[in-house]
Symmetry: C2
Amino acid sequence: MNDPLKNFRVVLVNPLYGGNVGAICRCMANCGISDLVIAERNYEVDNDECRKRAMHAEPIFDNRREYATLAEAVSDCGLVAGTSARSGLYRSHAKTAREWAPILYEKAQNNRIALVFGTEDKGLSKEQLALCTQIIQIPSHPDYTSLNLSHAVMICCYELFLASERFEPNEELSLEASSALRERMFSAWENTLYDIGFMKEDKAEHMMLGLRRILSRGLLTESDVKILMGIARQSQWNALQLKKVNGQTPRPIATDGDK
Amino acid sequence: MNDPLKNFRVVLVNPLYGGNVGAICRCMANCGISDLVIAERNYEVDNDECRKRAMHAEPIFDNRREYATLAEAVSDCGLVAGTSARSGLYRSHAKTAREWAPILYEKAQNNRIALVFGTEDKGLSKEQLALCTQIIQIPSHPDYTSLNLSHAVMICCYELFLASERFEPNEELSLEASSALRERMFSAWENTLYDIGFMKEDKAEHMMLGLRRILSRGLLTESDVKILMGIARQSQWNALQLKKVNGQTPRPIATDGDK
């Protein structure tokens, strides 16, 4: 029982469309869940459509099991979580997928847990909900509450996958530049803005505050600061060359030891 | 600008499958987002398949706009958030959909925001990502990172919808029973367990602790406690009737004023 995600079982009650079943296999694979069971099937799902939509997650479909009743499909599960978009009878203890996810993930350390999804057009019946020990409510806008089956499965699997903390977000390779480096950059820009003739002494303070504001709104990494400093210096070099050509005396370039 | 969700635009770059476009309309409707734009379209999407999958969200498809370039599709947007499952160039500042959602929702109070999704097989190109001011990373399991397009849209819209706090979870109609009511129930069960002959004085304390443990593991509402108390009393009544028939003297029934 090393990976609690492997203890989750997606149980589809009488799914009507092969495309949905295939899309669900892919959702499950996207979230590290692989145990698929179909219960109470009344329709032959379209296997071609299913395989097309499953993409590289076909093994999940191939390894599925099928049972005549929901009771059999979940008989070995310690927890049975039914899903519903609606509220009402049997649903007063419902929690959202996000509220349930960490609780169910914790329970999955040493319990097999069924996630039960009703048929596309009707959802779960009262009898099917009675088998459930938990009700997961999937949030949706009041103007259109009915989710496509595979999207309902995606939301539940996604929440469990996030609860697993298995996902490693991009490492922030580029840290904020240090204050000292930023100050060197502003100093370079100040010199440049004088030398290119963009500002004069009396407006300098105001202008530099403006520039600081603009460049402090978001993350500014060391590499960003070096780019901006390079632009400032190159621009200043051009301005100083021009002054020389014109026989003007350039202001001495401020140096800060940074190449 | 009353509803920030209305300031989000879903931009699909050259979608290949009408079914995906239809499913995306439904996802958007599920999450209160309605502005759909298609950019750089090279394929005629299958409109029949699209309308079939859109279900009641067809108006979103009917009101879509189409632009030859991504730049035109987002030209009036203050923020342009591109989506990606991968990490790499241009993506080092990516945050997950969950991290971005509250930030983008807040910005949507007074900015139009594009959510840009690449074509099914390739995602967004470097040139397309360069137009983006933000990168949204959608978490997925390392064994199978590629999400179906409509599921990627669902995750982003779902996170924004939750960030809107528009969803009202079921009100918990059934509150935990009061301690006093629970104690009356345990008292009823204690009497019953004696009278049905299930426990004797010397084991009573141990058994009652066990029963308390079992019945204190989850929520126990007032209505639950009344059901359990009713079962205890009815069971006790049967046992006492039997004693009378057998000419035994029943223990006096404890009363607690509760009918």
